[in-house]
């Protein structure tokens, strides 16, 4: 789609906002509706838009397959790591209250990290799936 | 002497292992077999005095299920069976050496290995302390003899092996196992207890059902119509037919029958019930039919196999009549028939080894070429027929006595008739061998193996074995009193 200048320009303009919105949904998730799942998908959508307009190869160059896979794994590990930290600090698995000196701020921190892990994984997964299918005909 | 009890099973297994180790040196391998057999026999014999004195050496190996142990316990009947099996193994090993080498059989190490393991299983059956233990060794015996039956690996051997294993496994898993579990369910124990464990625990109907589950479940006893495996097993090399299918395996079957009748049901419980009468009728029918079939078989080993089927039913019939004398007679017959039949099989194998003859109709004048063999054959035949002064006459006497004690006189007639029939299928062989002229060399191709007229016996090892077993048959006539004394406790309720 290299010839469609309008699309390219608009997309370039849109994508930062999509990412920004994703981040909003991600980090506001513990106050209102939102969270890692939705944020991850929105983030992936921004990227997929980029790939649609500028081509798979270009997108792959920005985000190589190895990187998405690593991010995917890291997200899960972050999630599990926070859970494990709960054990390390004397609570049960996934007990966030012990993460900080004050239970509420511990909860806050815990859910923040967990959701971040979820978001990373979901985004990476979505992008991976997109690449797998989009890369089929080559 | 109790410390020797576990060794009776371990010795043959060690022997089996050594046989494998000595596989590249045939002489050493056969020496190991003989030494193992001798050691086994000695260890079994050493248990005898204690059992004669009323002792019951026993040993719990380990608990296999809650409340059920794998245990050994020697009682008179098992003692007798153990003596017979281990004693004849020595003789049979001698014979095997002659036969296997004489016929240049393949895979001899496998042969000796499984033979030793089978013996361990047979001894296990003999000395089992409860039904579960007996069942385990019974199944091991079935499986270990399978490679022996299919030894030659020909299509016929495979087919026969299939019949062999098919019948023995399906009856034991399909009927015997159910019977055992049912007994356990009803009685809460499976220990062999004098007087039985089922008395007062089950209804009469269930006794009948259980009786048939056991009798047909013990396929090795070859009650018709599940006797087909026994003739099928005759494709095996003759030493196998001789020791396993005239002694160890089939005797394990009838031995189990006696054990079940005496120690699980108890003689009193069985005696005179409708089910036992039916069983006796089936046994009597098997006994007569098998004799009739035997007459029509031209293949010598097949004829002997059907004779075995018939003789096994002697013992089942004795067990079904379930009186003191009849079970003693049955037990005694285990020994008597073992010696008689193994002699006959040895002779059949010797004839095959020396002249490659398998059919009765080919045996004209063979007595002139193989006088020692055929005289032994006469001795064995007389014992099977039940004529003095051979061992077989005395066990038959006890059996008939038992029938009289149970006031079931018809079975005396059955036994008489059976004797006549066995004359009819064994004596023609003797007549042919001694009184018909030798065939001319032109008419029989195999005669080319040697010159006519001269004596051509089987290898020396075979001959020694034949002589020993024939002598044993004769000697048992005089040892019958001692056997009766050993078995006497069986008659006590």
């Amino acid at each position: 789609m290299n010839s469609h200048s309008i699309l390219r320009v608009v997309a370039k303009f849109m994508i930062p906002f999509i990412f920004l919105y994703a981040l909003y949904v991600q980090f506001h998730g513990d106050f209102g509706p939102g969270g890692g799942f939705q944020a991850g998908v929105i983030f992936a959508v921004g990227f997929i838009l980029y790939a649609l307009i500028y081509g798979i190869d270009e997108a792959r160059r920005v985000l190589p397959a190895g990187l998405t896979r690593t991010l995917l794994s890291l997200g899960v590990l972050l999630y599990a790591g926070v859970g494990g930290l709960g054990i390390y600090l004397g609570g049960n698995f996934l007990n966030y209250s012990v993460l900080s000196s004050h239970p509420v701020s511990g909860q806050h921190l815990g859910i923040f990290l967990i959701e971040f892990g979820v978001g990373t994984t979901v985004a990476a997964t979505m992008i991976t799936i997109f690449f797998i299918f989009a890369g089929q005909d080559r | 002497m109790e410390s020797l009890l576990p060794w009776t099973i371990v010795i043959p297994l060690i022997g089996a292992g050594l046989i494998i180790l000595a596989r590249h040196r045939p002489n050493l391998r056969e020496t190991v077999t003989l030494l193992t057999a001798a050691a086994l026999f000695l260890s079994v014999v050493s248990l005898t005095p204690a059992v004669l004195d009323g002792g019951r050496p026993s040993l719990v190996i380990w608990g296999i299920l809650p409340g059920l142990d794998l245990m050994l316990r020697v009682e008179p009947l098992g003692m007798l069976f153990g003596l017979v099996a281990s004693g004849l193994w020595i003789v049979n090993s001698l014979y095997s050496i002659g036969y296997m080498r004489g016929n240049k059989e393949q895979s001899q190490t496998r042969f000796y290995f499984f033979f030793a393991v089978s013996l361990a299983a047979a001894i296990g059956v003999a000395f089992a302390g409860n039904m579960l233990t007996l069942f385990m060794f019974y199944e091991i015996l079935t499986i270990c003899t399978y490679p022996l039956v299919t030894h030659s690996g020909t299509a016929e051997a495979v087919k026969s092996g299939r019949t062999y294993l098919g019948i023995l496994i399906s009856t034991s898993i399909g009927l015997l196992m159910v019977g055992i579990i049912w007994t356990w369910n009803a009685a809460g124990t499976l220990d062999f207890t004098p007087g039985g464990i089922l008395k007062g625990k089950v209804s009469d109907g269930l006794i009948g059902v259980l009786l048939f589950l056991y009798m047909y479940g013990i396929g090795k006893a070859a009650l018709m119509p599940i006797h087909r495996w026994l003739p099928a097993a005759m494709v095996a090399p003759t030493p196998v037919s001789a020791l396993l299918h005239a002694v160890a395996v089939v005797k394990a079957g009838v031995f189990t029958v006696l054990k079940v009748i005496i120690y699980i049901f108890g003689i009193e419980l069985v005696n005179g019930t409708a089910a036992s009468l039916l069983l006796a009728g089936i046994a009597a029918a098997t006994l007569l039919f098998a004799s009739v079939i035997a007459m029509q078989k031209d293949n010598l080993k097949a004829r002997l196999a059907y004779s075995t089927v018939s003789q096994l039913s002697y013992i089942i019939l004795g067990a079904a009549i379930a009186t003191g004398a009849s079970v003693i007679g049955g037990g005694m017959h285990i020994a008597m028939h073992a010696f008689g039949k193994i002699t006959l099989f040895f002779c059949a194998g010797a004839i095959y080894t020396a002249h490659h003859l398998t059919l009765v109709s080919e045996l004209n004048g063979i007595g002139r070429k193989m006088p020692v063999t055929m005289i032994a054959f006469v001795v064995g035949a007389l014992s099977i027929i039940g004529l003095p002064p051979m061992g077989g006459s005395l066990s038959k006497w006890h059996l008939m006595l038992g029938a009289a004690e149970g006031e079931q006189f018809i079975f005396i007639a059955v036994w008489m008739l059976s004797s006549i029939l066995s004359v009819a299928y064994l004596m023609p062989i003797v007549v042919r061998a001694f009184f018909r002229p030798l065939p001319t060399p032109q008419s029989v191709g195999v005669a080319a193996t040697g010159g006519e007229g001269g004596i051509e016996e089987a290898p020396l090892f075979c001959l020694i074995a034949i002589v020993i077993s024939a002598a044993g048959t004769f000697a048992l006539f005089f040892a019958a009193g001692d056997i009766g004394q050993l078995l006497a406790p069986l008659a006590k309720p």
Partner: protein, 120 residues
Amino acid sequence: MAFPGLINYWIVVILMMTGFYIVISQGNLIKKIVGLNVFQVSVFVFYISMSKVFGGAAPILDDSIETYSNPLPHVLILTAIVVGVATTALGMALVVRIRDAYGTIEEDEIQRLEAEESEP
């Protein structure tokens, strides 16, 4: 409850049967997956509608609200949706590879090819 009160269940059942029917009747592997999705969605609807409390507000904590709808099923369904997405993605990936291997995504043709394969 009168009929309208149960209308959500009717919708669920109709959706479910539609999806199920598609799975069974369609020979096209992609359409089967579509049917599977419809089927799963019916269950999502079932959970979500079940948790609605009449007059209840969205479960966001606020002092002025007395009744909330039950938030738990929503959370569960969020998980179930993720699972559904994963299933769909995997199913699609399989279909793609089946097409590479067989050259078709019609079930009857695949079965014909397989039958030929097993009788060489």
